[in-house]
């Protein structure tokens, strides 16, 4: 899995491309932690190119969400693909991880 980020006007967009599984989940958490440490606590994780996520990946997103909130911000996810949507729904975590159609919409009204 490859990670990249871009600081926008009101948030930082993290792109996670590949499989978000037990191999890549700790790397995502480390990457987002570094972005938060760099001063961005409003994070959008763009999952447009994340075709697969398991419970380890879900756990990493929850860890990143808590880290962002502890820093005074929030974490939202965008462009969720069908398999990731299925995992979020089956675990009922779609109630916790707010999903938006695009990164631009995630913090569009705050």
């Amino acid at each position: 899995m490859e990670f990249s980020y871009e600081v926008k006007d009101s948030y930082a967009e993290v792109k996670a491309d590949g499989r978000l599984n037990m191999v890549s989940a700790p790397k995502l958490r480390e990457f987002v932690t570094d972005v938060i440490a760099g001063g961005s606590s409003r994070i959008v994780v763009n999952l447009e190119n994340t075709a697969f996520m398991d419970s380890s990946g879900l756990g990493a997103l929850i860890g990143c969400l808590k880290a962002a909130r502890q820093a005074g911000g929030d974490l939202r996810i965008a462009a969720v693909q069908p398999q990731v949507k299925m995992v979020l729904e089956l675990t009922s975590m779609d109630r916790v991880l707010t999903s938006y159609a695009s990164a631009d919409e995630a913090f569009g009204n705050d």
Partner: protein, 140 residues
């Protein structure tokens, strides 16, 4: 039991890298069996990877030999089945029933997720090997 229309197997050391290998075998399996509906492919892939990850994370060696991960996936006309095994492993420690995780918990959802994805899950323990048998009744 109807004939096996496609099959893929993996066996190797129970390491994080093995998970990507198992996932690659699943991708190849669906190339061999394109008649399996996309929803069945997606759900079964998720269940198998989740089970294999559970072994890599939690299976402990019974003796000096390291734990090996084995996956045997077969496609029949109306059924997908995976035998996901931990060789040379101690019996599982802790409950085999899925628990409920708090909203802010970062782990503890794997077993519940597997149960939601497949039709049946059974556990076998034989000759130092723990095997999870996942079956999903296919819509094809």
């Amino acid at each position: 039991m109807t004939e096996v229309l496609a099959r893929r197997t993996f066996r190797g050391l129970s390491t994080a890298e093995a998970i990507d290998s198992v996932h690659n075998e699943l991708d190849k399996l669906w190339e061999d069996a394109p008649f399996v509906q996309a929803m069945d492919q997606m759900t079964f892939t998720t269940a198998v990877v989740e089970s294999a990850s559970n072994i890599v994370q939690h299976a402990h060696p019974a003796a000096a030999r390291p734990v090996e991960l084995g996956v045997d996936i077969s496609v029949r006309t109306t059924q997908l089945q995976a035998r996901v095994s931990a060789y040379h492993a101690k019996p599982p420690f802790g409950p085999l029933e899925p628990g409920t995780a708090d909203d802010d918990a970062e782990s503890g959802r794997g077993l519940a997720l597997i149960e939601a994805l497949v039709t049946t899950v059974t556990f076998e323990r034989q000759d130092g090997t723990n095997t999870w048998v996942l079956t999903r009744t296919s819509q094809s």
